[in-house]
Amino acid sequence: MRALLTSAHKELRLLARDYAGLLVLFLMPVTLVVVITLVQENILQLSGQRPTEICVQDDDQGPFAHGLTAYLQTGKLEAVPWTGSADELRQAVTAGTCQAALILEQGASARLQQQIDRQLAGDATSKSPSLALDLLFDPATMVGFRAGIFARVQMAAQATELEMKATRLGARLTAQAGAGTPAGNGSGEDLRALFSRSLTTIAEQSGHSSQSSMDEILNPVDRNVPAWALFGMFFTAIPIAGTILTERQSGVALRLTAMPVSPISLLAGKMFAYLGVCVVQFILIALVGIYLFPHLGLQAFSLPINPLSLLLPVCASSLAACGFGVCLGSVCRSYEQASTLGATIVVAAAAMGGIMVPVYAMPPLMQQLSILSPLSWAITCFSDLLIRGNPWESTLPDLGRLVAFSAVMLIISWKRAYR
C-alpha cells in the first residue's frame, strides 16, 4: 500500500510539471466533446440510422396484423415476433434489448373492420374513434432512428388500412350490384372521406416506465457527453504507457526492479493516480456539457437525479482505461509504438463499442462484436443511468466487466512492465 501511494504521488507530481501533457489530457477530450456533439447532433437528427428490426407483439392475429407485418417487411424493417407478454416487451425496450417495438392489441382487426364498415355505411362524417397502435422506443435511440421507424410503421399501417378499405368496398359494391341496388349513398364525397381519413394513429411511447414524452427524455447530448468523455479517458492510456516506457528507457525500471517492491504496487499506483485524472476529466466534460453547451445552441447535459450514481461507472471506466494504459506500456518497446498502437486500438474499440455510431445502428456482425469492447460496457452503464433511467444496480454486470478487464490488464503487465 505504501509503495502504491508513493508511486501514485510521484505520478501526479510528474504530471503536474508536464504542462503540455496536462493540456492534452484535459483540453483534448473537452474539445472533442464540444466539436463532435455540435457536428453529430445534426447528423443523428437528419439521417435515419438505418433501423433494421422491430419487435412486434401480435395479440391481434387478424388481417390487419398480417398486412402490417408484410408491409413492414417490404419497407426493409424486419418484424421480429415477440412471444412474451406486453409488460415483458416494455421491459426489453427499457433495457435496450429491443430498440423499437410495436404492440397490436387483441381485436384490432375486428375493430378496424367495424369502423370501415361504419364509414362505408355513410357514418363517415361522424367522428369515428381511431385505432391507436403503441410504438415503443428504447430511450437511448436517437431522433433520426425513431423518425425512420415511425415513418415506416405509419406507412405500413396506412397501406394495410387502405387495402382493407378497398377489399371492403369491393365486397360491398359486388353485393350491391348483385342486389340490383344503385350505389345509393356511396357518393363521391363519402368515398373521398373513406380514403382520405385514416382510422389508425400511432402513439409513440418511451419504453420508460415513467411514460413521459419521448422528446423530453431523449437528448443526444446525454449520450454524446459520456461517450466522448470515455473516448478521452481511454486516450489517457497513451500517456500512462509513456510513463512506463520512460522509466524503462531511463534505467529507473532497473533501479525499481532491484528494490524490494512489487511491480504490481508500482503499476497500481500509476493506475490510481491516473484514475484521479480520468475522474477530473469526466467532471470537466460534464461541467462543459451543463454550462457551456446551452450557449452553443445545444441542449444542456442533464445529470441523473442522483449524480453520485455516476461515480461508479466513471471510476470503473477510468480503471479500465488505466489498466489498458499500463498494459500498453508494458507490451510496447517504444513510445512511438505505444502511441500508434494505443490510438489505433482506442479508436477501433470506440467505434466497435458504439461511441461514434450507436450499436443498434451497426450491421448485425458488428453488433455482436461490440460486446467485446470495454467502451461498449462503459457506454451501456452510462446509457442505463442517464437515458434509460435504470437503477444503478442494473449496471453491475458491466461494472464488473470493466473492473475485471483492468485486473487482467494489470496481471498481464506484472512481469513485463519493468523487464
Binding site: A3, D18, Q249, R255, T257, A258, M259
Partner: protein, 256 residues
C-alpha cells in the same frame, strides 16, 4: 585461465558458472562465469564494450535470472530470499535512473519511500544523501537542469539510501569531470572503509587500479585474468593495467 576461489571464507557474492545467451545474438553474452567476492572487498570488472559486464551485474543483483548457474548473496539465493536480498543491496545502473522532471530532493524522497523509510528517518536520510552528492544548493531544482556530473552523483547517492551491504555500480563515473570523479572516488573509498562490499564496472583502468582491491578482466562473457592490481602488474612485464588489458583483449573494436 581458471581462477580458484577457494580461499575466500566469508563471501558476500558467489557466482557459479553463470551463463546468459540473449535471443537473436550469435554468441552468449556471459559464458560460465564464476566469481567469489569477499565481504568488504572492492572488486572491479573490466572489459571492452559488449564484454558482458552489465549482464553479469544484473544477474548478480537479481534483475534477470541466468540461463544456468547460481548466485548467492551473503549465502542467500534469489527466489526464496529475494526481498531480503533486495533490501540489502544497492544498485546503480549504467543509465541515469532518475526522473528528470522531479527535483533532486523529490527523486531521493521517492526511492527512500519505496525502501520503507519514513518520518524523521527519511528527512535525515535525504539530507545525508544531498550532502553526499553535494547537491544541497540545487536540491529543489528539476534534475533535467543538472549537469552530467550532478546527475551521476545523484544516481550514486540514491543507490546508497538503504545503507546496503553490497553496492553494485555500473560505470558510475562515465562522462563526469575530474572534480566530480574525485568526489565520487573519495566517497567510494569511505564506503569501503565502513565495510560495504562494492562491485563495480568501469572503462577507466587507472581508476580501477587506484580503487579496487581486486580486478577481473573480462571479454566475451568470460574472465581472462583476475587478481589484485599490484599483483597483476608484478607478475607481468607491463607498466599499467591498460597494457595488460590490451594484451588480453586485443586491439580490435568490439561494438562495431
Amino acid at each position: 585461465m581458471k581462477v580458484s576461489q577457494a580461499y575466500i571464507a566469508d563471501p558476500a557474492i558467489e557466482a557459479e558458472a553463470l551463463s546468459r545467451h540473449y535471443k537473436g545474438q550469435p554468441e552468449p553474452a556471459v559464458d560460465r562465469f564464476s566469481l567469489t567476492i569477499a565481504k568488504g572487498e572492492f572488486y572491479g570488472l573490466l572489459g571492452p564494450n559488449g564484454a558482458g559486464k552489465t549482464t553479469i551485474m544484473s544477474m548478480l543483483a537479481g534483475l534477470q535470472p541466468p540461463d544456468s548457474g547460481a548466485v548467492r548473496i551473503h549465502g542467500m539465493r534469489y527466489g526464496r530470499h529475494t526481498r531480503l536480498i533486495q533490501s540489502k543491496i544497492g544498485f546503480v545502473p549504467q543509465e541515469l535512473a532518475l526522473y528528470q522532471r522531479l527535483t533532486g530532493m523529490e527523486n531521493i524522497w521517492y526511492f527512500a519511500r519505496l525502501l520503507g523509510l519514513r518520518g524523521k528517518e527519511i528527512k535525515s536520510r535525504i539530507e545525508q544523501s544531498l550532502e553526499f552528492c553535494q547537491l544541497q544548493d540545487r536540491a529543489r531544482q528539476p534534475v533535467a537542469t543538472y549537469s552530467g556530473g550532478m546527475k551521476r552523483r545523484l544516481n550514486l547517492a540514491i543507490g546508497l539510501l538503504n545503507d546496503p551491504w553490497i553496492l553494485f555500480l555500473d560505470e558510475p563515473t562515465v562522462g563526469v569531470d575530474t572534480q566530480s570523479r574525485h568526489l565520487i572516488h573519495q566517497q567510494l573509498r569511505r564506503l569501503q572503509q565502513t565495510g560495504t562490499t562494492i562491485l563495480y564496472t568501469t572503462h577507466y583502468l587507472e581508476e580501477a587500479q587506484e580503487l579496487c582491491s581486486r580486478v577481473g578482466i573480462l571479454d566475451q562473457g568470460r574472465i581472462l585474468k583476475e587478481g589484485a592490481p599490484e599483483l597483476l602488474l608484478q607478475r607481468s612485464e607491463y607498466q599499467n593495467l591498460e597494457e595488460i588489458f590490451l594484451e588480453l583483449t586485443g586491439n580490435a573494436l568490439r561494438d562495431h
